[in-house]
C-alpha cells in the first residue's frame, strides 16, 4: 500500500491542475459564447490562399 503515498498526491495534483485550467478558461472569457466557436472552426479565413 506504500504506492498510495505518491499516487494519491499525484492524482490530487492532476485534479487541481484541471480545476485551475478551468478557472483560467472561465476568466479568459471562453464561456461567454457557446455557439460561435462551433461555426468558427469551419471558417477558412486563416488559411493562406
Amino acid at each position: 500500500m506504500n504506492v498510495l503515498v505518491y499516487l494519491v498526491p499525484i492524482a490530487l495534483a492532476l485534479g487541481i491542475t484541471a480545476l485551475f485550467a478551468f478557472m483560467w478558461s472561465l476568466k479568459n472569457g471562453q464561456y461567454e459564447d457557446s455557439e460561435g466557436p462551433a461555426h468558427r472552426i469551419l471558417s477558412d479565413e486563416d488559411v493562406k490562399k
Binding site: M1, L4, V8, A11, L12, G15, I16, A18, L19, F22, M23, L26, Y31, E32, D33, S34, E35, G36, A38, H39, R40, L42, S43, E45
Partner: protein
C-alpha cells in the same frame, strides 16, 4: 425612427482601449445564420483601421476594436448597415452586469464542487469495496482524512450560494429551501469528521459534496437561462435605436442616442418623430398622439409650457422641448409613486419551493430528532443514535425537492424564450399559472401599437398601391400607415414633400398626390367614426380618402375567444375614451370594458377584483398601465410598450400577435403541473428512504445512490414539457390586420 447613422454622435458608447485604440459593443439585428458571423467579421476586418471584430453568436453582440485616428464609430456602423446588418451601440445595464457576475460565480462554485465530488467519489468507492473485502483500518482512515481534506474547503467555497441565502432567510425570519440544505450539508460534514477521528467505518463526505454539485447544476442552468433572456431583452432595447436631436450650445443640432440625454438638455422634435424624453415644450405647437402614454387614441394639441412624455408621437409641428426629470404633480411623478406602492404586494409572494420547504423542514427535523430519542430509548449508544439520526437528515436532504422547481423552471423559460416571451422575474411562471382573470389594456395591447388603414377594401387596388409607394417618401405617421400596405418597397425617384400638406410625384406623366384634402383637391370625406384620421390620394382623375385608425392585433378575436372558452374572466381597462372602447369590446365579446380610467382608477379596479379572491393577469403597454402592471398578480407587456411598463411586467412578448398571452399561460400551467409532480416524486422518494434511514440501514453507498437517482428522475420529468412553436414574430403589421379591421368597419 432609425436615422442615417453617419450623422449620429456615438461618442458616449466608445471606450478607449490601449495603444490609442477604441472599442465599442454593438447589438446586431439580422444575424440569422452562422455564415453571417463569418461575413460580418470579414467585412469589418476589411475596413481600414479596424483591429479586431468579434461576434458573439450567443448574445448577438459584436465587439469592435479600432485605431482611434483612422476611423470612427459612425463610419463602422455605416459599414455594417451597408452589409445589411442593423447595429446599434450597446451598454450593459447594471442588472445584466449583475447577472453576468452571478453566472460566473455559480459556474466557479460548480467547478469546485465537480472537482471535489469526482475525487472524493474515487476514494469513497475504494472504501466501499474495501469494506466488503479486506481494507485495513489504517488505509480507510487515510482515505477518509483525504476526503475531508478535499471536501471541507470545497464545501466552504461551493456552498456559499446556499449558506448566504440561508443566513439571509434566517435574518428575515422566513425559512427558505436553502436552510434545510445548508443544515444537512453542515451536519453531514461535521458527523463525517467526527467519525473519521473516531476511526469509524462510514463517512458522508461524498454525499455532502454530491448534493452541492447537483443543486449547483440546477442553479447554474437557471441563472444561465436568465442571463440569456436578459441579454436578448437588452439587445431589443438597444436596437430600437432611439435617437434625439439635441440642441447644442451653439444652437446647432446634434443627433445623439436617447440614453445620453440629461435633464436640462434642450431637444428638437421633428414632425413624425416620437418624443424621446419627458419634458416641457419651450416653443412650437403640434398635435401629438399620446396613446403610448395614456391609451388615448384621439390626438391632442399642445403648445409651449405643456408637459410631454416620452413615447408620444409628434404629428405635424416641430417642437423645442426642455428635458425634465419627473416634476412634482406631473403624470410621471404620479405614476412612479403608484408603481412603488403597488409593487409591495407582489414582493410578498412565496414561491412554491419555499412553501414546500416550510412544510418539509420541520417534519424532517422533527423526524431526525425523534429517531435520535427512539434509538437512545432502545438502549443504543449515544454515538450510534446520533449517526442514525444524522443519516436520516442526509437521506432526506432535499436534493430532489430542491431540484424539483428549478429543473422545470429552466426548461419552461427556454421554451418561452424560443416562443419570443422573455421572463423578467424568476417566480413569474408560478404566478402566471394561477391566473383566472385577465385584464387587457386596449391601445397598443389589444390593438396594434401603430395605426393602420381600415378601408383598404373600398379603394381601387391600383390607386392604393401607388399611394403606398409614394407614402414611402414621407415621415408623417399617417403616410407611414399607408406605406405599410405596399408590397413594393422601392420609393419613387423624385418625390417632393410639401410641408404641412403632403407628398407629390409624377407617375407616367400624371401627378400623384398624397396628403390633405385641399392639397389633393379631393372631396372632403366624412370619417366613419371620431377616432379615424384621414389622408387623401389623387392620381389623375382618380381620388380616394384613406381612413386610418388603430386596429386589432391580427389574432385578437381568436385568442380572446380561446381564453374565454378556457374559463378566464376577461376585462378591458383602458385610458381611452369610453366611446372608443365600447365598440371594440362588443366586437371581442368582452362584457366588462371600462374606458377613461387613470392609473389610480386602474389600480382600484384591480384591487376590487382581488378583493373577490381573483388572481388577475394585467396585459398592458402604456406608461399609464405601469402601476396596474405592478399591482396585478402577474403581468405581461408587448415589446413595444413604454419603458416604465416593461420594467414592471413579469414578462415581455415579442410579437404582433396576442397569441403569446395564451402561450405563456399554457406553458405556465404545464410548468406548475410538472413542478407539483416533481414535488410529489420527492415525497414518494422520502416515503421509501426515511423508514430505511430510521431503521439504521442507510450506508453512505445507499445515500449516494438514492440522491443521484431521485435527482435524475426529477430532471427527466421536467424535460417532458412540451414547447410551443414560435409564431413568426418578425412579420410586421403587414396587410393582415386589414381583414379584421375591415370586417369591423363593415359591422
Amino acid at each position: 425612427m432609425y436615422d442615417a447613422p453617419d450623422t449620429i454622435d456615438f461618442s458616449s458608447f466608445v471606450r478607449p482601449a490601449e495603444q490609442g485604440r477604441a472599442s465599442m459593443d454593438l447589438a446586431l439585428d439580422g444575424v440569422d445564420c452562422a455564415a453571417c458571423m463569418d461575413d460580418i467579421e470579414r467585412t469589418m476586418a476589411a475596413v481600414p483601421g479596424v483591429v479586431s471584430a468579434r461576434l458573439n453568436l450567443t448574445t448577438y453582440r459584436l465587439r469592435l476594436i479600432w485605431e482611434a485616428e483612422k476611423t470612427n464609430a459612425s463610419a463602422l456602423i455605416a459599414a455594417l448597415a451597408k452589409g445589411g446588418y442593423r447595429a446599434y451601440p450597446f451598454e450593459q445595464s447594471r442588472v445584466e452586469q449583475e447577472e453576468t457576475r452571478r453566472t460566473q460565480w455559480l459556474l466557479k462554485c460548480l467547478a469546485v464542487a465537480g472537482f471535489a465530488s469526482m475525487n472524493i467519489m474515487l476514494l469513497s468507492v475504494s472504501v466501499w469495496s474495501g469494506n466488503a473485502t479486506d481494507i485495513t483500518p489504517e488505509t480507510r482512515d487515510f482515505f477518509h482524512w483525504l476526503s475531508a481534506l478535499i471536501a471541507l474547503p470545497a464545501a466552504a467555497y461551493a456552498g456559499q450560494p446556499f449558506f448566504r441565502s440561508a443566513l439571509a432567510s434566517m435574518r428575515a425570519g422566513k425559512l427558505n429551501m436553502d436552510f434545510p440544505i445548508s443544515l444537512g450539508i453542515l451536519l453531514a460534514l461535521t458527523m463525517s469528521v467526527v467519525e473519521t477521528a473516531l476511526h469509524g467505518q462510514e463517512a458522508y463526505f461524498d454525499s455532502a459534496v454530491m448534493l452541492l454539485l447537483f443543486l449547483l447544476a440546477g442553479r447554474y442552468l437557471d441563472q444561465a437561462m436568465r442571463k440569456r433572456t436578459r441579454a436578448a431583452a437588452g439587445n431589443l432595447a438597444a436596437l430600437k435605436g432611439e435617437i434625439a436631436q439635441r440642441v447644442g450650445e451653439d444652437g446647432g443640432l446634434v443627433t445623439v442616442p436617447v440614453g445620453v440625454l440629461k435633464a436640462g438638455d434642450q431637444i428638437f422634435v421633428r414632425p413624425g418623430d416620437r418624443i424621446p424624453a419627458d419634458g416641457m415644450i419651450l416653443s412650437g405647437s403640434s398635435e401629438i398622439d399620446t396613446s403610448l402614454v395614456t391609451g388615448e387614441t384621439m390626438r391632442t394639441r399642445v403648445g409651449s409650457g405643456a408637459q410631454v412624455y416620452a413615447g408620444s408621437m409628434n404629428f405635424d409641428g416641430a417642437l423645442n422641448v426642455q428635458v425634465t426629470a419627473a416634476g412634482e404633480g406631473t403624470m410621471l411623478d404620479e405614476v412612479a409613486r403608484l408603481v412603488e406602492k403597488a409593487g409591495e404586494a407582489r414582493s410578498r409572494y412565496l414561491r412554491l419551493a419555499d412553501r414546500a420547504a416550510r412544510v418539509y423542514a420541520p417534519i424532517v427535523h422533527v423526524t431526525a430528532a425523534s429517531t435520535l430519542i427512539f434509538w437512545l430509548l432502545m438502549g443504543a449508544g449515544a454515538h450510534h443514535a446520533i449517526i442514525i439520526a444524522i443519516s436520516v437528515l442526509i437521506i432526506t436532504c432535499p436534493c430532489a425537492l430542491a431540484l424539483a422547481v428549478p429543473a422545470v423552471q429552466v426548461v419552461a423559460a427556454g421554451h418561452l424564450f424560443r416562443a419570443g416571451i422573455f421572463l423578467n422575474n424568476a417566480d413569474a411562471l408560478e404566478r402566471l399559472a394561477e391566473i383566472d382573470t385577465i385584464v387587457f389594456d386596449k391601445t397598443g395591447t389589444l390593438t396594434l401599437p401603430d395605426p393602420n388603414v381600415v378601408n383598404a377594401g373600398t379603394i381601387a387596388p391600383e390607386l392604393l398601391r401607388r399611394a403606398a409607394r409614394v407614402a414611402l417618401s414621407s415621415r408623417h405617421p399617417l403616410a407611414q400607415a399607408v406605406a405599410r400596405l405596399g408590397v413594393d418597397a422601392t420609393p419613387f425617384d423624385q418625390v417632393e414633400e410639401v410641408a404641412g400638406a403632403g407628398v407629390r410625384t409624377l407617375v407616367d406623366g400624371i401627378d400623384l398626390r398624397l396628403g390633405h384634402a385641399a392639397f389633393c383637391d379631393a372631396q372632403v370625406h366624412q370619417p366613419s367614426s371620431p377616432d379615424v384620421s384621414l389622408i387623401y390620394v389623387r392620381y389623375g382623375d382618380q381620388q380616394a380618402a384613406i381612413e386610418i385608425r388603430q386596429s386589432l392585433r391580427p389574432d385578437a378575436m381568436a385568442i380572446v375567444e380561446t381564453l374565454r372558452r378556457r374559463g378566464f374572466d376577461l376585462h378591458i381597462f383602458s385610458g381611452d375614451r369610453p366611446e372608443a372602447v365600447a365598440p371594440l369590446a362588443r366586437q371581442l365579446g368582452i362584457a366588462d370594458a371600462q374606458g377613461g380610467m387613470n392609473p389610480a382608477q386602474k389600480i382600484a379596479a384591480i384591487e376590487s377584483l382581488r378583493a373577490q379572491w381573483r388572481k388577475v393577469l394585467m396585459v398592458g403597454d402604456g406608461m399609464n398601465d405601469a402601476p396596474a402592471l405592478a399591482a396585478a398578480y402577474a403581468s405581461l407587456s408587448p415589446i413595444t410598450a413604454a419603458d416604465l411598463a416593461q420594467a414592471q411586467a413579469d414578462a415581455v412578448f415579442l410579437s404582433d400577435r396576442l397569441a403569446p398571452v395564451a402561450q405563456a399561460l399554457d406553458l405556465a400551467r404545464q410548468a406548475r403541473a410538472l413542478m407539483r409532480q416533481n414535488l410529489w416524486i420527492a415525497v414518494v422518494y422520502n416515503a421509501f428512504a426515511v423508514p430505511l434511514a430510521i431503521a439504521g440501514y442507510v450506508t453512505p453507498l445507499i445515500a449516494a445512490a438514492a440522491m443521484s437517482g431521485s435527482s435524475i428522475i426529477v430532471t427527466l420529468n421536467a424535460l417532458r414539457m412540451r414547447g410551443v412553436a414560435r409564431k413568426d414574430h418578425t412579420e410586421r403589421s403587414a396587410p393582415t390586420p386589414l381583414t379584421v379591421a375591415t370586417q369591423e368597419h363593415r359591422a
